[in-house]
């Protein structure tokens, strides 16, 4: 169902987006501030139901690419994602009728909202990751045959570039990454232009409104003194994501990080309260795999999230620190992200993990037996 997004929705949306960021995606707080300013100046944003799109629609997703730790210093000028969108429109010779997130987790849930508010166009309630992933080819759009390029990238000076790599979405990612570093570590992009039926065929629907619902669920659970994890599990049951469960509760005892190949790779070790049990979570920007006492419990692309023990607020991998008390909460991904072709693009093997993907709800059943 289409709806209008107002400034009162932002806190919940950003909290839910941080959850779907599955440890990465960048802190959406700056995105929240940007959208809040745009909403004050331009009024509410129309959020479209993807089923309402037609073949006359041209949807151009917009996003930010780069290092979240650079973004917190080098704030945008405000024109960048709009310049990227305009540049791609010019290249295609057509105007966008709507924008859309490529990634519903982290700050990239908010960039299209900012573009939509500024330009007075609607944003589609869907995305191509259903969570956050570190690379631009890791999209259901790509999995189901949509080329990411031509991609337009812009900086704060109004400089733009078009990256055209044909059907090779991985090459598009590496070229865009190189330009981003020269731009100062953060760039703004428009890519994966598509018509309405293609959105309906390849996108994960209703993920913006899902972020909003999940953020609201955490907030209201807290004010009703209800366990946020229980409330999240109940809320997820009625969605494409279906399953959510706490797989571990404990304290962060070690965080190891290293920069390899342009990513943050590492692991966090958690110790249970009052038992010898430990949980190890490995990450590449986002959480990839969680193991409890050596037994695999959640594998990418299923979502691993870390929640502040008392408040249920999502904590990103970048802000995990020694001594924090957290719960590890797993969420199953929609079926469209668990097909063989989807797993080839963003399953365990795409991250160099040897294990075959097994849905976390099945692993949970094994662990319980």
């Amino acid at each position: 169902m289409a709806f209008d997004l107002t400034i009162d929705d932002l806190g919940d949306l950003v909290r839910g987006a941080a959850l779907l960021g599955t440890g990465g995606g960048g802190d959406p707080e700056i995105g929240r501030a940007l959208v809040a300013e745009a909403l004050r100046a331009h009024g509410p944003i129309r959020v479209l139901d993807p089923s309402e799109l037609t073949s006359d629609d041209l949807v151009i997703p917009t996003a930010l690419v780069g290092a979240p730790s650079v973004l917190v210093e080098r704030l945008p000028r405000g024109n960048e994602p709009i310049d990227a969108l305009r540049r791609l429109e010019q290249h295609l010779g057509r105007k966008a009728t709507a924008t859309m997130p490529i990634e519903c987790g982290g700050i990239n849930s908010t960039i299209p909202l900012y573009v939509a508010a500024r330009l007075g166009i609607p944003v589609v309630d869907a995305d191509g990751m259903g969570r956050a992933f570190p690379e631009l080819q890791m999209e259901t759009f790509a999995v189901y045959g949509v080329p990411g390029s031509p991609l337009a990238i812009a900086d704060e000076r109004g400089h733009t570039a078009i990256v055209q790599t044909g059907d090779d979405n991985k090459k598009m990612e590496s070229w865009a990454r190189a330009i981003t570093i020269r731009m100062g570590g953060v760039g703004y992009i428009a890519e994966y232009a598509m018509d309405g039926p293609t959105v309906q065929r390849t996108a994960i629907p209703y993920t913006l409104s899902l972020a909003l619902r999940l953020g609201r669920t955490i907030r209201t659970a807290r004010s009703n003194h209800r366990d946020p994890a229980d409330a999240l599990r109940d809320e997820l049951a009625g969605t494409l994501y279906q399953h959510g469960a706490v797989i571990f509760t404990g304290k962060v005892v070690d965080v190891e990080r290293s920069t390899e190949g342009g990513f943050t790779r590492g692991s966090a070790r958690l110790a249970a309260f009052g038992s010898e049990s430990t949980c190890v979570i490995e990450f590449q920007n986002e959480y990839l795999v969680a193991r409890v006492d050596g037994q695999t419990r959640v594998l990418v692309p299923d979502l691993i999230t870390t929640l502040h023990l008392e408040t249920g607020e999502p904590i990103t991998a970048e802000s995990l620190r020694y001594g924090q008390r957290v719960r590890v909460f797993a969420i199953s991904t929609p079926e469209v992200m668990r097909t063989p072709e989807a797993l080839a693009t963003f399953g365990p093997a795409a991250f160099g993990l040897a294990e075959e993907f097994v849905p976390f709800e099945e692993l949970a059943a094994v662990a319980a037996s």
Binding site: A33, E37, A67, R74, R77, I181, S258, T259, F273, Y322
Partner: protein, 517 residues
């Protein structure tokens, strides 16, 4: 010997310490001008336990005066924020997201100028001299006397902020300049916010610090004067003049550190019961547990280190009501009017203190005035107090194992010797002045928070460099070199960037070197 003073909203507490023994303690009413209350407290300390003033080597003061000025949006100077970063950053200008009330109180004004660095040291833009000269003219015509300067990536490269500061000072001698690289860590908006808050307090800080120094010398002290900071460490009074924002969370920090010192507990919950609220914090290894969320002060996001404190509206002055057999305590309080309005002092308002006296837990005022209180009401009221406070302790507790609980503050007489979920309840000696003791035993710290290039195989060397820098900073701040310890190391590699760029944050803390006079 050293003297610790805590200037609270209601009381000014003072203690005299010789090494680790408490020689004397006093509790006096806080004065409007802060300093005469301190003089009264020092006189009283001297009366209780005469001592030669020259034997006092250091006076440590904890005060909530500056944070209260922000919370109340009062006593603040007209302030401008100048940010160097164009053409980047314009989407979120200075003061974005600030409450209108506070912007009005500081007559806040933001200027976006060219400048700033990239993460790797490249320039975003050079400084534009003409642009800054126009800003100087406008500041002058508006009568703005204090400014905050921020620049993109200034924690990595501070040159731009320094260059802009000296250019503006040439035009406007006497201007108070606060630079963001000296105030906060990475995160432009939060760092800039803290810098603007600091700038708005500079004139007040001048007055208060000058007053404090004069008060001490008038009282015949030649001791060094320190103020306590958010993390329980100290800064000298001249530093406080320039960085008043660093005192913000010192109140709860001091009471927790004081509780740790008095009880000998390293890991425990601390309940500080004052006149209006009970504040609960957690000590881990002798230091307050820090809040995980970004700290918000007066509605403004900052990135200070703040202790994680949860408060409940129960204190010695809390009003007690009974309707249809349902007893409520607080959250409203008679506050500093306790000595006029509470029943044990001849007043007509039933307060938590009256109930504690009726129950025989406390001996203040005239117990005969509460002799006729219904014992059932007294019991119900004390149950409510104990229940509410232990539920806050329970919320702060993060492991199923019960924690020891240390009770401090004048109002802790309201609480029983056993609490649900507490392993054991400690009520240390001198509990009523724990925060003044926390001020007296404070340490000094040094911190490094920067992006380092970490060449392959040289991580340990880079970490050692960072640690040494933090130790040097602690020693420069007055720590005794042999006592300095590294208490926190945090590394965050910056994703997607070449050269293994890593943000390294190190904190070192040590005992204060006492000068012998």
């Amino acid at each position: 010997m050293r003297i610790g003073i805590d200037v609270g909203g209601t009381n000014t507490d003072a203690v005299l310490l010789d090494g680790t023994s408490v020689l004397a303690e006093t509790k006096m009413a806080t004065s409007n001008d802060v300093t005469s209350g301190i003089i009264n407290a020092l006189d009283e300390l001297h009366r209780v336990r005469p001592f030669p003033t020259e034997s006092v080597q250091a006076v440590m003061i904890g005060t909530t005066h500056f944070i209260n000025a922000i919370v109340e949006a009062d006593r603040l100077s007209p302030t401008a924020a100048i940010r160097l970063g164009l053409p980047a950053t314009a989407a979120l200008p200075p003061l974005v997201g600030w409450p209108d009330r506070l912007v009005t109180a500081i007559r806040g004004r933001g200027y976006l100028c060219h400048g700033g660095h990239e993460f790797d040291g490249r320039l975003i833009s050079p400084i534009n001299r003409a642009e800054l000269l126009r800003v100087a003219e406008e500041l002058s015509s508006l009568g703005i006397r204090s400014i905050a300067i921020s620049s993109v990536f200034s924690p990595v490269n501070a040159e731009m902020e320094q260059e802009a500061a000296s250019l503006l000072l040439e035009q406007l001698p006497g201007l108070h300049v606060s630079m963001s690289h000296e105030i906060g860590r990475m995160g432009l908006l939060e760092r800039e916010n803290a810098t603007i808050i600091n700038a708005s307090l500079r004139e007040l800080a001048e007055n208060v610090c000058t007053g404090l120094a004069q008060a001490l010398s008038t009282a015949g002290f030649s001791a060094a004067l320190y103020l306590s900071q958010n993390d329980g460490t100290l800064m000298d009074v001249d530093y406080a003049r320039d960085y008043p924002v660093a005192t913000f969370a010192s109140g709860p920090t001091n009471s927790m550190r004081g509780a740790a010192f008095l009880s000998g507990l390293e890991t425990c919950a601390v309940v500080d019961v004052g006149g209006t609220t009970s504040d609960v914090g957690i000590l881990q290894g002798g230091f307050p547990r820090e809040a995980t969320a970004e700290a918000s002060v007066g509605g403004v996001r900052t990135n200070f280190r703040m202790p994680d404190v949860l408060s409940v509206g129960i204190g010695g002055g809390s009003r007690v009501r009974s309707t249809d057999g349902q007893v409520t305590v607080g959250p409203d309080s008679v506050g500093y009017r306790l000595h006029e309005q509470a029943m044990v002092f001849g007043g007509t308002t039933l307060t938590a203190t009256d109930v504690a006296v009726a129950a025989g837990r406390a001996d203040v005022g005239d117990a005969s005035l509460v002799r006729d209180l219904d014992p059932a009401l007294v019991r119900a009221c004390l149950d409510v107090i104990a229940g509410d406070v232990s539920s806050v302790v329970d919320r702060m507790r993060t492991s199923p194992a019960p924690l020891p609980v240390a009770l401090v503050g004048g109002g802790s007489i309201l609480l029983p010797d056993e609490l649900d979920g507490a392993a054991k309840v400690f009520r240390p000696d001198h509990f009523a002045v724990a925060n003044a003791i926390g001020a007296a035993i404070a340490q000094v710290g040094g911190e490094v928070d920067r992006i380092f290039a970490v060449p392959p195989g040289q991580r340990d060397d880079v970490l050692d460099t960072a640690k040494q820098e933090a130790v040097d900073r602690a020693v420069a701040a007055g720590a005794e070199a042999t006592s300095v310890e590294i208490v926190d190391v945090d590394e965050v590699p910056i994703a997607y960037l070449p050269g293994n760029a890593t943000r390294i944050r190190v904190r070192a803390v040590g005992d204060l070197t006492l000068r012998t006079s």
